[in-house]
Symmetry: C2
Subunit: 136 residues, 2 copies
Amino acid sequence: MRDPLPDFPGYSLRRAANATAAELSSRLAELELRQVDASLLILIGENPDVTASALGRQLDIQRANMVPLLKRLEDAGLIDRKPLDGKSQGLVLTSAGEEKCKQAQAIIEAFETEMLQRVPEPHREHLLPALYALWN
Amino acid sequence: MRDPLPDFPGYSLRRAANATAAELSSRLAELELRQVDASLLILIGENPDVTASALGRQLDIQRANMVPLLKRLEDAGLIDRKPLDGKSQGLVLTSAGEEKCKQAQAIIEAFETEMLQRVPEPHREHLLPALYALWN
DNA sequence: TAACAATTGTTGTTGCTTATAGCAATCCAT
DNA sequence: ATGGATTGCTATAAGCAACAACAATTGTTA
């Protein structure tokens, strides 16, 4: 079939993102985590006592949508909340959460390495800076 | 906030795809088209009498999910169906569909050009081949 | 040619994700 | 001290894709 779409960088960007996201998701599923979950665990691990709204701003997730996400993680015993003041609550990893986070990071790093291997050598080092420029 | 995520190519890939998709979507909205719609119009334009299942295979969209997509385009008077044999039907652009398709292509090409401009010169030419390798 | 397998278009359902609006409580700055 | 902003939350709606199932038709091969 004649298909001019792959010649559009934007189209290839979407397809590449879909393909890699599907692969990573299936690997994270073994930890019963989704990509968002892993992102949240990593950010909370790096920033103890971060608030839900700050996380949302960082990940471009609206406040309202953070609620069910964090509830899942809390119900799974991966994070804890402790009140910082009357209205804000700090988020921290539980010990189970730290363990999961480590495992997730291992999976993600292995995945990223494999992914980069798929990119032909001369283009490889240009991928990250090129992508970064597109959303910053 | 400490945020190691942007250093992961996979994460930057997802963020870049989201950011660019949002931008392109808002531009296509002026034609009352979504990205899928535009993709379908372009493919049908290039391949008259293509079937719904062939389109789905090309775009990695399941047969079942093609139904509402094509129905929208048909209801909008952009495509026509004609039976090829007892069960298959060929899809073609109506004249209105061809007009829309041209407009969409203009918007997309302008968008792609602007998008590439955002990528610093030394990385630019590597973007498409790098992305292509990730989903093929 | 008769039986079996694969394909096509479709329906209906489900779950996931995001958008949106609104609300009460609290914090902060003038 | 008051008004505006922020935080966490509820509830709702919409869009999108996955999945299973089905009837009709086509093709393959024994």
